[in-house]
């Protein structure tokens, strides 16, 4: 906590062009932005948390049915997406470093690659959704999940209604995540634009840092989603 920073009078401030008027000095502004983004991410944890909670409860109640449903989504595509996102987090870190070290080209390049990777992620997600649509695994009137065996329990078949709950949660959770990705892409498009215009310097690149935080968060949510949704009850 910046308790005892000595602050001069208004006229004596170094008017860094990016310093907003209600902050005394750039460090305070940076600290505020950073804390603000961390708190926002805490709210996002609670937001997704409700879904994870519902998922974990039903998973325990309907273990076999959820296992059968989970088996029907493509873990290879999911794993690919996981790798894609992890790489994109690497490029985000590169972008932040580039901003800190005034490497404008690297900054722009990293932002571009991050966005491309994000688009790859969304593309693979779209393929998965399409597959589910074709298999009639989208909850609603055309949902069907008959005679699907429960992994590890020969002769037993999944209860379609319980499987439908899995898919409801699957679509809502991954859909909400994808929505956050899309918002992230929008954010990064804006960051890219600002970077291209040369707005970022080693003294001021807060938007890159907090944008990066957001992107890492979206990545971490996926890292939890992936094993919970795709990898439960998989048998070799």
């Amino acid at each position: 906590m910046s308790d005892s920073t000595v602050v001069g009078l208004h006229d004596e401030e170094q008017h860094h062009p990016e310093l907003l008027h209600h902050f005394a000095e750039p460090q305070q502004q940076r600290d505020a932005a950073s804390l603000g983004m961390w708190i926002f991410l805490a709210t996002e944890v609670m937001f997704f948390g409700g879904l994870f909670c519902a998922y974990l409860i039903y998973r325990r109640m309907y273990f076999g049915d959820f296992g059968a449903a989970s088996k029907s989504i493509d873990a290879t595509l999911g794993a690919t997406n996981t790798a894609v996102l992890i790489c994109s987090s690497l490029t985000v870190v590169l972008a932040v470093w580039a901003a800190q070290t005034a490497l404008r080209k690297l900054l722009i390049g990293s932002l571009v690659i991050t966005m491309l990777l994000g688009m790859v992620f969304l593309g693979i997600k779209a393929k998965e959704y399409k597959d589910k649509f074709e298999e009639h695994h989208v909850p609603g009137a055309s949902f069907s999940f008959d005679h699907v065996p429960i992994p590890g329990h020969p002769g037993q078949y999944a209860n379609p209604r319980h499987a439908e709950i899995f898919f409801s949660l699957y679509f809502i959770m991954t859909g909400l995540h994808a929505l956050h990705m899309i918002i992230g892409l929008g954010l990064f498009a804006w960051l890219l634009f600002m970077a291209w215009k040369g707005r970022f310097t080693p003294e001021y690149h807060t938007p890159i840092e907090i944008g990066g935080l957001y992107w890492h968060f979206v990545d971490i949510v996926w890292i939890y989603l992936f094993p919970l949704l795709y990898l439960i009850d998989r048998h070799p």
């Binding site: 209600h22 600290d31 937001f47």
Partner: protein, 549 residues
């Protein structure tokens, strides 16, 4: 020659700095945003109050003869939704908090002024959605949206109401976020945590709850909307879902929400009592930490709304014992406020009357919470008027009185005018009497067994006398609320201009002009004194501060 009085040239302040609708709708000044909120929440308060009036009128007679049962069901639902989400939750933080937090800590504005404006717009959007919902048919699920009724049976605009609250929820989250960052990062030099006014501690605790709790109801409403529109089965037993899962998710937010509603009010009362008793609060650190304790424990007790819902008796035990734990810090505050009066020098201005009213009514409401936390009793009184009386004692007798007290206390600062003290004291008395007449009979009704949300009680005419008393009280209460509306408005044009510190109160906000300039302080203050230095204010020098025991 006609004599003319020379009007003093009005100093530039945040109100007269710029004129025009645009200067208000696109402002980033926390004080203007506070006023925008003041107008909006007052609007919704009167809408919610209008619904309450209709409810009480209906309940004058046992039969459902004023409105159809379907309409009555919509009335209590929308009364609850409007009052909770569009009045109580924002009220003090969005009006008084927005106005005062930066000033109390010596800052020029909140950490994120544009996000502050965004908060207001989100509130307005949510409010417009809710208004539209109400005008095009309304919603009848109760503000609690229990499934499967809300997802699979109700024929009303559940989705729209849910989405309206979802949007308004983000207003609340962003306000909380703004306050926490502001309090951490924008304190003036010398303003250490232990010198902060307790109003700030209260808002800090409230903000934690807003940040961590609101997203949960947001996602819960998303699930309800999804279930209803896409016919999913997450909460519907016919499709494999569990209706109790909804209740857990709902109450996980909605219980801490009640602490969002009361903590700021406690902060207001603390400021008022210190000022009008002319002394520092007894037990500053205990009061500060009790706010944090209430926020933390408040997250652990949600299933005390579900004792008869079908949870296991062991779960019930855990939630009951934790509910008693959360009562302790609240009791500590009441004792500290009372102890502050000891050897004080007490003035009876209107804000202090509201503070007294708060302590009395909050004590009663809080004590009835002990009844509800007792498992054996809750089985009988839950879902009856006993619960309604309990929460209205806290929300109306507590939170709303604190809000009114705060409005009066800081009115000179906010508007630069004095409100008429005589009318204010009268209004405080009317509110106090009207309130008790409205809600005390409801405790009796509840124990007798009158269930809540009943449009018609013609099978139980023995409940009528108490209902009539309650309605009589409500009309008195309504008058009590109209009066401040009227004289505050009157004062903006005809009230005496206020000095910078009419109450000689402690606190950085009083060291600005009334009304303040846009950037609050000419120079950033450097704080070298403790909070509530009334000794210095009254005598010009420091007194020895006693520590008893």
């Amino acid at each position: 020659m006609a004599t003319t009085t020379i009007q003093p040239v009005e100093r530039e302040n945040y109100l007269n700095k710029e004129y025009g609708v645009g200067s208000w709708l696109f402002t980033t000044d926390h004080k203007r945003i506070a006023l925008l909120y003041l107008i909006s929440i007052t609007f919704f308060f009167f809408i919610g109050g209008f619904f309450a009036l209709l409810i009480r009128l209906e309940l004058l007679t046992p039969a459902s003869d004023l409105v159809q049962p379907d309409t009555y069901n919509k009335l209590f639902t929308m009364h609850g939704m409007v009052m909770v989400f569009f009045f109580l939750i924002p009220s003090i933080p969005a009006v008084l908090g927005n106005f005062l937090v930066p000033m109390m800590i010596g800052a020029k504005d909140l950490a994120f002024p544009r996000i502050n404006l965004l908060s207001w717009y989100l509130y307005i959007i949510g409010g417009v959605m809710m208004l539209h919902c109400m005008l095009t048919g309304g919603v009848d699920t109760g503000w609690t949206f229990y499934t499967p009724f809300s997802t699979a049976f109700s024929n009303t605009k559940v989705v729209e109401a849910g989405l309206a609250i979802f949007v308004a929820g983000f207003s609340s989250i962003l306000t909380g976020l703004n306050f926490v960052v502001t309090i951490h990062r924008m304190r003036a030099p010398g303003m250490t945590w232990s010198r902060l006014p307790l109003f700030i501690w209260a808002h800090y605790a409230t903000s934690i709850i807003q940040i961590l709790g609101t997203p949960v109801i947001a996602i819960t409403l998303v699930l309800v909307v999804a279930e209803r529109t896409l016919h999913l089965g997450i909460f519907d037993p016919k499709l494999g879902g569990d209706p109790l899962l909804f209740q857990h998710l709902f109450w996980f937010y909605s219980h801490p929400a009640v602490y969002i509603m009361i903590l700021p009010s406690m902060g207001v009362v603390t400021e008022i009592i210190a000022c009008f008793a002319r002394k520092r609060i007894f037990g500053y650190s205990f009061v500060a930490f009790s706010s944090i304790a209430i926020a933390v424990f408040g997250f652990l007790v949600w299933a005390h709304h579900m004792f008869v819902a079908g949870i296991s008796i062991y779960a019930a035990l855990v939630f009951s014992i934790l509910s008693y734990a959360v009562a302790v810090p609240s009791a500590v505050k009441v004792f500290n406020w009372t102890a502050t009066l000891y050897k004080g020098s007490i003035h009876y201005d209107a804000p202090m009357l509201y503070a007294f009213g708060f302590i009395g009514l909050f004590t009663m409401g809080g004590l009835t919470g002990l009844f509800l936390a007792a498992l054996g009793i809750d089985v009988h009184v839950t879902d009856t008027y006993f619960v309604i009386a309990h929460f209205h004692y806290i929300m109306v007798g507590g939170a709303l009185m604190g809000y009114l007290g705060g409005l009066h206390f800081w009115w000179p600062k906010i508007s630069g005018r004095l409100y008429p003290e005589g009318w204010a004291r009268l209004a405080a008395l009317i509110v106090f009497l009207g309130f008790n007449l409205t809600f005390f009979p409801q405790f009796v009704l509840g124990y007798l067994g009158m269930p809540r949300r009943y449009a018609d009680y013609s099978h139980m005419p023995e409940f009528q006398v108490l209902n009539v008393l309650s309605t009589a009280g409500a009309t008195v209460l309504g008058v009590g609320y109209l009066l401040p509306m009227l004289y505050f408005l009157w004062s903006m044009r005809y009230g005496k201009p206020a000095p910078d510190n009419p109450w000689k109160a402690a606190g950085l906000e009083w060291m600005t002009s009334s009304p303040p300039t846009t950037f609050n302080f000419e120079q950033e203050p450097i704080v070298t004194w403790e909070a509530y230095n009334y000794d210095e204010l009254d005598t010009g020098h420091k007194q020895e501060v006693k520590v008893v025991g």
